[in-house]
Symmetry: C2
Subunit: 182 residues, 2 copies
């Protein structure tokens, strides 16, 4: 199987990393706990007067590099590869690309290893990538192509309203992808 895995919010814990950085830098500001997150983009759930500060926080050096892995994500990816599947890590650059692209390569190298770096793909339009499944926390995808992959939604508090798609966590990925028989 060709398995595409999204990076932010699936492999790297964007929400947890954001919350810790935000509370650390701005202890006086309100914050939204992860279980109360309802929007795909963090910035969309905060009041207008904090949005610029949030964008700056995300675009700051060392933000992406210091995101922790989601529990079980690294083990799942190495497990998929050990089962013989081709695994690609999919991401895209934020518009402030200088602060994120090297850190994303470094993140993959640090948490998965050097031989995974060549499996990292930067592509804004994910519909142009081929694969059997795309594991992604984004509720829906639009792009230049009708997707060739099945979008398997990675379960997060902010995408619980999505129905009609298979839903996966790093606890049940084998059962969801392979019927629990492997």
């Amino acid at each position: 199987m060709k398995i595409l895995v999204d990076m932010d919010g699936v492999l790297a814990d964007f929400d947890d990393g954001f919350l810790k950085t935000w509370q650390n830098l701005h202890a006086d500001k309100p914050f939204i706990p992860i279980d109360q997150r309802t929007t795909f983009y963090v910035v969309d759930q905060y009041p207008e007067e904090l949005k610029d500060l949030i964008r700056q926080t995300i675009a700051a050096p060392n933000f992406f590099g210091s995101l922790p892995p989601l529990p079980g994500s690294v083990e799942a990816l190495t497990g998929m590869r050990a089962m013989g599947h081709d695994v690609y890590i999919c991401t895209s650059a934020i518009s402030a690309f200088r602060s994120c692209v090297v850190e994303k390569f470094e993140w993959v190298e640090a948490h998965l290893g050097t031989d995974w770096v060549k499996s990292l793909i930067f592509a804004k339009d994910r519909t142009m990538l081929r694969g059997d499944v795309l594991i992604d926390d984004r509720p829906a995808y639009e792009g230049g192509f009708v997707p060739s992959w099945e979008h398997v939604i990675f379960d997060r508090p902010y995408n619980r309203e999505v129905v009609g798609k298979r839903r996966l966590t790093w606890d049940d990925w084998k059962a969801v992808l392979f019927g629990g028989n492997e």
Copy 2:
């Protein structure tokens, strides 16, 4: 049409940039003029004792960022987009990724403009990308998929032995891709 365009040696003039940097830094060392280049990778055509120095030259900061555009390449890409085609720029990181990934984003921003940055794709395995054509100077492609695109070879001195593929330059791209009627 969905047109994939390779970056190094097609959009950015890797050979010209390498030769100028090499001659500038190592005027005492031999060099191979562009019209005598016979291998896809520059390093393969130089003697063993110079290979490490060549790899260091390519991995040095500012190497990728200072590559000149191939004459006509920028005009061709903006022309394709003006005709209504979807154009994606395809590249991959060298193993010394820290010295190249940001510079490749900056190159696209500087020579094509900010709105082209989101069309830049990093993918080592180009067979996983969908498109109608891939314009690329690499003689042949292998990867995890049977390609969905037609490989149109971008004419360079080192790929002249390739036969059986349509061949394109930035002078005749309209005729090659569209039959000369546009």
